[in-house]
């Protein structure tokens, strides 16, 4: 069963009288357990594609089936429910609440899930351990380094046990060494069975993925399996 199934998906924006097309008919099938890198220059539509896949944006043409369900025509609340249960996001700018602790940040998605407080703590602790941030659990996020922040963000994306983790330029704000560590962490999560979709414009980052999509001008340019997946060597 495909996790994502896109047929001729397009996204048009209407600015007054002018129609801009961010995506012009993208078709792709993604299975569970893949580590997908979406590449392309700015304006290629890679972020738009990721937002559509992650239910943050809706397509204007074609069909998008998530886990066999047609996303078009879902209500806002149904989409919110999908974001809550099925996906986790990692952003370039981390987007942590700076005056909250690591644990509070990681627990944020669970607030909307209806779990008991005890269960939230257990889940958050597991996610924090998975990214190796136990020693910072009660630190405020503005006391952390960039790499640590991104780890916390990954923990937050993991905490609701999603079907897929979206990473939007996760190394964009990090130096090479920390960036490598974050990519290794994502690769590790992939090895554990998580599905990962990463948007990047760096070749080195894309080499960590198992499959690389290249977009140009809103269209698919190439779709290749990456057999020689790269590992930075940290922790291994």
């Amino acid at each position: 069963m495909n996790l994502f199934s896109l047929k001729e998906v397009s996204r048009d924006y209407l600015n007054g009288e002018v129609v801009t097309s961010a995506l012009r008919g993208v078709s792709v099938e993604v299975k569970k357990g893949e580590f997908l890198a979406i590449m392309g220059p700015s304006g290629s539509g890679k972020s738009t594609l990721m937002h559509i896949l992650g239910f943050l944006d809706s397509h204007t043409g074609g069909t998008y089936l998530f886990d066999g369900r047609d996303v078009a025509g879902m209500t806002d609340d149904e989409l919110a429910k999908l974001r809550q249960d099925q996906v986790g996001f990692v952003f370039q700018a981390f987007n942590l609440l700076s005056k909250s602790t690591v644990a509070q940040n990681v627990m944020l998605p669970l607030v909307y899930g209806g779990l008991t407080v005890k269960e939230r703590h257990t889940r958050a602790d597991n996610a924090i351990s998975a990214v190796g941030m136990e020693h910072r659990r009660n630190h405020y996020s503005n006391q952390l380094s960039g790499g640590e922040k991104q780890r916390v963000a990954i923990a937050r994306a993991l905490v609701n046990n999603p079907s897929v983790i979206f990473a939007d330029e996760p190394t964009g704000n990090l130096d090479t060494k920390t960036g490598t560590q974050i990519l290794d962490l994502l690769a590790e999560l992939h090895d554990e069975g998580h599905t990962i979709v990463m948007v990047t414009h760096e070749e080195e980052a894309a080499e960590y993925a198992s499959r690389i999509l290249k977009l140009r001008d809103g269209k698919m340019e190439s779709d290749t399996q990456n057999v020689n997946r790269r590992r930075g060597g940290y922790k291994k």
């Binding site: 937002h51 943050l56 806002d76 919110a80 609440l97 899930g113 609701n160």
Partner: protein, 411 residues
């Protein structure tokens, strides 16, 4: 999202900007506090006056002079001179009243030895203490022969007695009014104040002496009497008697054309009710204005807060918050703010009410009662919640309607 989560999320957000939150609610605090304080004083005054009215009995009737000119405004018993002791005689003959007493007031310097004191002087008669109960500490009250004989005798209040004579026995001592010598025949017990006048600083002399020797007038300031039977009927019947006695041309019986004014304790009670009503309307308007201003302040700050937290809102939406959950979160924040404001306002208002009451009791009116209106407190809670909802809904909608992608990218 559970209710408890809404509450904790909202209070965490507010605590992150403590001083701003406090400043924001100041308008609500002052509005609610001022209303509680004014209601407390208003109801205290009302109860105080009604208590005094009740003490004296509802069948008391007052006759005061009036101008007889409907266009001249309310009667002034200290200017008009149309009511005299002849009217007292008329009242006695009418059989409508059981006890009658005339009063004339002025303030003059009174001298005892070296001590010179401006004192309220009351011309009155032997019946006064039957209508306005008071006990003598020493000596006797004025009697009928004092009034008939223009006697130069005085009954003095407890405080003035202490000023003039200290611990010495004042009965039989002399006091000087307008270089006339009066003999003290009695001293009143401590009485406190009535209708905001300190009775303990008053000196009473026969009304006849007061008219002829002190003030040089024939009139009286007012006559007090106890009605026999239905008060309203007595008043009306007596008005016609007075019109006859004063040769008034007033066939339609319009009280504003009379040169006298008859009222009773009932009227006073009614008046207190009217004043109370006006006061309530006034307070409600002030409260409405201050809560409006406070509410706009809340709305303003919530809008700023929504803008500042655009990325947070985007993030919350990205991790699964629904429109309703974001909306509720911001609504709960504004309601928490206004409720806290209301609570602090109630606390402040009650505290200051007690302080003011204490000062009044200690220095001005000993038999004042401190009233804390319980329904005003309930009202404060309801009103501040409503203010939070009304002024929070627009910012909360703005927050809930944010597009998550734009919100996440917001710098």
């Amino acid at each position: 999202m559970q209710y408890r989560d809404l509450f904790t999320t909202a209070s965490e957000s507010l605590l992150r900007t403590k001083s701003r939150s406090l400043l924001t609610i100041l308008g609500i605090v002052i509005g609610i506090g001022a209303v509680i304080l004014m209601l407390s004083i208003g109801q205290g005054a009302e109860r105080f006056i009604l208590n005094q009215v009740a003490d004296l009995g509802a069948d008391l009737v007052f006759v005061e002079p009036a101008s007889g000119d409907p266009t001249s405004g309310p009667p002034n018993p200290f200017i008009e001179q149309t009511v005299t002791l002849d009217d007292v005689t008329a009242m006695e003959r009418s059989g409508l009243f059981s006890t009658i007493s005339a009063t004339l007031l002025t303030t003059l310097p009174v001298t005892v030895g070296e001590i010179n004191e401006f004192t309220q002087l009351q011309g009155t008669d032997e019946n006064y203490l039957d209508l306005f109960p008071g006990d003598l500490q020493y000596g006797t009250n004025l009697d009928e022969s004092d009034v008939e004989g223009y006697a130069k005798v005085a009954v003095i209040g407890s405080e003035i007695s202490e000023t003039f004579f200290g611990d010495a026995d004042p009965v039989g001592q002399k006091i000087k009014i307008k270089s006339m010598s009066f003999r003290v025949v009695g001293v009143m017990e401590e009485q406190g104040s009535r209708f905001f006048q300190n009775l303990d600083k008053q000196i009473s002399i026969p009304i006849t002496t007061m008219q002829r020797d002190v003030m040089g007038v024939d009139s009286v300031a007012w006559i007090t009497a106890r009605a026999i039977g239905d008060v309203d009927e007595v008043k009306e019947e007596f008005r016609w008697l007075m019109r006859d006695a004063h040769d008034l041309d007033n066939p339609e019986g319009d009280p504003s054309k009379d040169d006298f004014f008859v009222s009773s304790q009932d009227d006073a009670t009614e008046m207190v009710g009217v004043v109370g009503g006006v006061l309530t309307v006034l307070l409600s308007s002030i409260a409405a204005i201050s809560l409006l201003v406070g509410g706009i302040g809340i709305m303003n700050i919530m809008l700023v807060s929504v803008t500042e937290r655009t990325r947070e809102i985007g993030l919350r939406k990205a991790v699964g918050a629904t429109y309703k959950e974001i909306m509720l979160q911001f609504l709960v924040e504004s309601v928490l703010l206004t409720l806290l404001g209301g609570l602090l306002g109630v606390l402040g208002g009650v505290t200051i009410s007690y302080l003011v009451g204490w000062v009044l009791i200690e220095y001005f009116v000993a038999d004042w009662t401190i009233v804390i209106p319980p329904n005003a407190i309930a009202l404060a809670a309801i009103v501040s919640t409503i203010v939070g909802l009304v002024f929070g809904i627009y910012p909360a909608r703005n927050a809930a309607r944010l597009n998550p992608i734009d919100a996440l990218r917001y710098e």
